[in-house]
Symmetry: none
Subunit: 200 residues, 4 copies
């Protein structure tokens, strides 16, 4: 999925644009290889030369448009967590990215290649800095150290995606804040007032 060989820069741009346009207009189902090729003024073979499947093209187009950079991830664990949660709401709920990501995750359920690409190129880059901040907090003793970091992170990451993909219940900043608070509560060092205490 990366640019190699004699791949023409111009065609590459045209293809990604041609793939993302219909994605926003008609959704994932409306994007077809033939349609992308025609829109991009490109032979169909060119698509198959560089991408293994429709999902791959669409995902790269999605990355290209949406990947302005991972969510801001500085400071301590609590800040990281809040930043992630608010970034999630901004991108997926307020922005147009949510519908696209939903469809891509949907397609990934029957497309292992896409699933792997999503994990490696989308989820993990966003998860890693928060995980690092968590480990730092664990080392500093401000959150429980006896919980696997990935499990702990799921307490915040999972509810956000769950409402997006599964439950369909409201997904907004208030929910994100609540979830973060509950997570911090769960990770509180026993006997302490908790890592988020100072912020309230």
């Amino acid at each position: 999925m990366s640019q190699v060989g004699r791949r023409s820069k111009k065609s590459w741009r045209a293809i990604l644009d041609a793939a993302y346009g219909p994605l926003e207009e008609g959704g994932y189902q409306s994007v077809t290889m033939g349609g992308i090729a025609a829109r991009a003024g490109v032979g169909r073979q060119t698509l198959y030369r560089w991408w293994p499947s429709r999902a791959a093209v669409v995902f790269e187009a999605f990355l290209d448009k949406v990947n302005a950079g991972p969510f801001p991830a500085g400071g301590d664990f609590t800040a990281s967590l809040r930043a992630y949660a608010h970034g999630f709401i901004d991108l997926y709920v307020k922005g147009a990215g949510g519908a696209r990501l939903r469809e891509l995750i949907g397609a990934a359920q029957t497309d292992p290649d896409l699933a792997r690409a999503l994990t490696e190129q989308w989820f993990e880059p966003r998860r890693a800095p928060v995980r690092e901040a968590l480990r730092e907090a664990q080392r500093a003793g401000v959150v429980r150290a006896d919980v696997d970091p990935d499990t702990a992170l799921d307490l915040v990451f999972a509810p956000l995606h769950y409402r997006l993909l599964v439950s369909g219940q409201p997904l907004d900043a208030a929910y994100a804040d609540t979830v973060v608070d509950l997570c911090l509560q769960a990770l509180r060092v026993p006997g302490d007032r908790g890592p988020g205490a100072a912020h309230r």
Copy 2:
């Protein structure tokens, strides 16, 4: 999706069987309306007469096979939560249901009708008894009453589905137990040792 008119019981059975068979063998993608009809010895129109889409047939077949009844849901909130979590692992991870449900949820991302059907006929019936137990616990004062029940439930429900659908990380009984414990910790009444304390 319910039996109305003079729908033939025999055909209905044959269709659901014919839809679920290939589902296990080749996955959701390999199930086609024509294939179901042929396997069931049924006219194609009969499928379209009673179901609006492939997803609807497959979902009904899934319900028919897997819906042996919701997860056991008796007792107090903690027991309910553990029962749900273990039921989830048993059905989705140890059993064959997980792959099917993943594909259905995937399809639901681009099929609002299926999404609604999943929520109403699958998720909500399993969520409701646990929610009720939670409300009871809130009234009894053993868990925090200042948290929206659905948000609280998400702390357990979401991570399970998240690992199934999104992260691909290990999903086993140990993880389920940890998640339940963290949830109880988060919902602990401040100053109390928490509802799950006696169990540890």
Copy 3:
């Protein structure tokens, strides 16, 4: 095709009407058994009970509407011939019958039952009186007696149908008159001035 058994007069009427209506609106192709039944407020089985095929229903509806009676056929051979020719033009070209008959003859090319019904119930009743007049003329010696009557009649009958079905060239009263004249010329007793002489 005749009314027998418990056949309901009311349904029979409704069916013939329901069959002829769409015939005029959308042509033979647009008439379907299901459509007729629905329009007539009749069960589909009722149609199949009384008619063997769509063609049979349509033909009976055609007869019912158009069969106001054969063309007038009195007098001598010349008058008979002219009467037939003008009747043909009036019904098939000026009236709406031509399009219907064309379609029925078209269907008859692949439907022997319809072909037989057309011959027996439509063509022959119109041909017979003219043939009889011809035989009379042959006995009276005013037209050649050494020509098979059916062959002789074809000289007029055939060109009219030919233009309707095959050549698509103009088919009007002038053409009909010319054809009749040429036929009379061909059948003239050698040495005589011909049977049509007195009329010119």
Copy 4:
């Protein structure tokens, strides 16, 4: 219906063969687009790409097989006429072409495109040389000049097609000869012994 674009010669041959085979075996009704495609080892879309309808494919297959060339058409009007009449009998009655042409003309009654194609590519090429011979004879004064050539030709062409399509009466060489003789009689210059006199 003509070969344009990059139409594959091989597929084109296979399709015409595949269309004509079932035509002879089961008649026009038994020929289906799907059947042709399967027999020809060709995608269904390829048929729809190049032909607008089943009738068009079948007609082209008919032309391809039967169109060994128009009926021989040399010499004077009388010879032309006899040649046409005998060619008609040979091809349509003795050969297998008659059944095919009947069905095609039948289909043409509800298919204007096919009707036009039949006229332009089948009937007119056969009619034109005889018409030319007739005009020559009219100029030479051996047949009546006061009759429209097309009307005159109908005296022979029409009866042959009429018996084929409509009346179902015997259609053989004797009938053809009689019809030709009667036509020549009808077209005889008044007072003359007729153009065919020398041949008898």
